[in-house]
């Protein structure tokens, strides 16, 4: 039997997790009880309705979509670079998106709050950043072979991030707007406070388009596990594949950044969890990573809201606290 079936536990675990995380996010840490929805008292019922029927669902859906997008984006980059540490935040792709969104905000392009102009410029920034980090990480040499020096790629990503952050600060400084500086500083910490249905539509589109591109490359990404040169001899058009993956990863990171700021390490944590459960084949890895990322960010966002009420912790802080130990573990494993 030739099977690429997922290990038995993978899907039940993921779907249970997804259901649990969604429920947790919808109900936990609200100032009123879920049961107040059916209360006869309008002072209890109206806020309950607003929270449970409008604010919470939008935010939960945003968390699910941003988590799924970041995770699939990370899984795609890990496959492309054949580097387990690759991730949109660490490679500077998120910073590219953030710079684009910042420019849109500084120029006061329409829809900063509704986020359309920001999303487009974020996509532009993320695309440029991913092209740059790809070229830098690739280094000189043969058109097909790709540097297997993991640290080199990460260093390029870190340097690129620093450069783009400096540009971002420059844009903010030149705009001469204090409110913008504050707004952006908070947004950069990563959070889903601005979640809205309009934003969710954009997120959904980016997630579906990006995932469709990646799943359409499943065969080639599996072949890539044997290395660029081998994959080429097996029939993969490497350059076209690389472009498609970079575009899909940039699209999903850009939409996430524009919606929720810089949230790192989701693209590291979730795909590795799925691989640990046996999902190495691209056809299992990508759907698995999508659900895993959705669970992770949904839970982290619920924790961010519920851990220290009434203070809301930016969710990017929590994902970093979880992600950095994994990063160090993977880096040590070599």
């Amino acid at each position: 039997m030739i099977s690429r079936r997922a290990p038995a536990l993978l899907w039940p675990l993921l779907f249970l997790g997804l259901g649990g995380a969604t429920l947790l996010s919808l109900t936990w840490g609200a100032p009123v009880s879920f049961l107040d929805l059916w209360s006869q008292n309008p002072d209890l019922r109206d806020p309950a309705r607003q929270i449970f029927l409008e604010l919470r669902p939008a935010r939960t859906v945003a968390a699910l979509l941003v988590g799924a997008s970041l995770s699939v984006s990370g899984a795609g980059l890990q496959s492309l670079f054949r580097n387990p540490l690759a991730e949109p935040y660490l490679l500077g792709i998120s910073a590219g998106g953030a710079l684009g969104a910042t420019v849109a905000a500084a120029l006061q392009l329409p829809g900063w709050n509704g986020f359309e102009a920001g999303a487009f410029l974020a996509l532009g920034g993320a695309l440029v950043a991913s092209a740059v980090v790809f070229a830098l990480g690739k280094g000189r040499g043969d058109a097909l072979s790709f540097s297997q020096d993991r640290a080199r790629l990460l260093l390029c990503g870190v340097a690129l991030s620093a450069f783009l952050s400096a540009l971002m600060s420059l844009v903010v400084a030149l705009s001469g707007r204090l409110d913008l500086a504050q707004q952006i500083a908070f947004w950069l910490l990563g959070g889903l406070t601005r979640a809205s249905w309009a934003q969710n539509v954009v997120l959904l589109f980016a997630f579906l388009a990006g995932s469709a591109i990646l799943l359409g490359c499943a065969r080639d990404l599996n072949a890539l596990r044997a290395g660029e040169e081998d994959a080429a001899s097996l029939g993969v058009e490497i350059t076209a594949l690389q472009r498609k993956i970079l575009f899909a990863a940039s699209l999903m990171s850009a939409a996430s950044v524009a919606a929720a700021g810089l949230i790192g390490f989701v693209g590291l944590l979730a795909p590795h969890g799925v691989r640990l459960l046996g999902g190495r084949d691209a056809r299992i890895l990508f759907p698995g990573a999508a659900i895993g990322g959705a669970i992770l960010l949904c839970v982290c966002d619920a924790l961010a809201r519920g851990l220290f009420p009434p203070i809301e912790v930016p969710v990017g802080i929590l994902t970093a606290l979880l992600g950095v130990p994994l990063f160090l573990f993977l880096a040590r494993k070599g």
Binding site: N222, A223, R225, A226, A232, G235, D281
Partner: protein, 260 residues
């Protein structure tokens, strides 16, 4: 008409260096051409050019009547390459590895058809039935070569290219793998080009040989007896050699006269 791979006047430059210079050769289905030559004589480049991994500056490559196609998938359906030092994810199982050989036949999503599964099954039962569920990272050198061979056979491409398939193996596995390659070549009627460092091993299994010089030119080609001469080998390898027929097989074998 018997299908054959025909290369005419092939020249490849990498950077400023001419690696292959006007190389011509033919390999018929069911035959092994062994390519020998010193380090840097362009043996691997020859295989890479046939596989479409480097583009030649001049020359033509035909299989049967038709030129070898340029799109990678079409090329891969005709030519399979067993690379010299593959990079692989050690977590891949042998079955998955063999299925990678079907890449050029699968749809974009990569779901295998009945035909793909049959090709993989028959490759595994022919080459590595004992390794079916093993992970590549756990295999010994000889087993790993069989796994790669399994992938190459699963492609069902009529041209098989092998880049030093036995150089990392001990004597027993060298013989085992080469015997397997010879068997597959006859059984599947493959046009096989095998690059080998060991000239005596090459002379033992080849139907024809090609000797490349340091400048990437063909020094000699044809039957092993005509290529494995003292004059040719001594000139190319810059070592004094004596060639004598093997006592059992009668194949020409070289012995170094180097004084240590």
């Amino acid at each position: 008409m018997k299908m054959e791979l025909r290369i005419e006047n092939l020249s490849v430059e990498l950077g400023a260096r001419r690696v292959l210079d006007a190389v011509s050769l033919q390999v018929a289905a069911g035959e092994i051409l062994a390519v020998i030559g010193p380090n840097g004589s362009g043996k691997s480049t020859l295989l890479r050019a046939v596989a479409g991994l480097v583009s030649p500056q001049r020359g033509t490559l035909h299989f049967g009547e038709n030129p070898l196609p340029t799109p990678r998938a079409a090329r891969a359906r005709l030519v399979s390459l067993l690379p010299q030092s593959p990079q692989y994810d050690g977590e891949i199982t042998l079955e998955e590895m063999a299925m990678l050989g079907r890449t050029a036949h699968l749809g974009a999503y990569g779901a295998p058809s009945k035909k793909d599964k049959e090709a993989v099954e028959s490759a595994i039962s022919l080459v590595a039935p004992d390794l079916r569920n093993r992970k590549i990272g756990e295999l010994s050198g000889g087993e790993r070569q069989r796994a790669l061979l399994c992938r190459a056979i699963a492609t069902q491409a009529p041209v098989l290219l092998l880049d030093e398939p036995v150089s990392a193996l001990d004597v027993r596995f060298q013989h085992e793998i080469l015997e397997l390659i010879a068997h597959l070549t006859r059984e599947r009627q493959l046009a096989t080009i095998c690059v080998l460092h060991g000239i005596n091993l090459a002379a033992s299994i080849a139907d024809a040989m090609l000797l490349l010089g340091k400048d990437g030119r063909v020094v000699a080609s044809g039957a092993p007896e005509n290529v494995m001469t003292e004059a040719h080998l001594s000139a190319v390898y810059e070592v004094p050699l004596r060639v004598a027929p093997h006592p059992l097989s009668g194949r020409p074998q070289a012995q170094s006269l180097w004084k240590f």
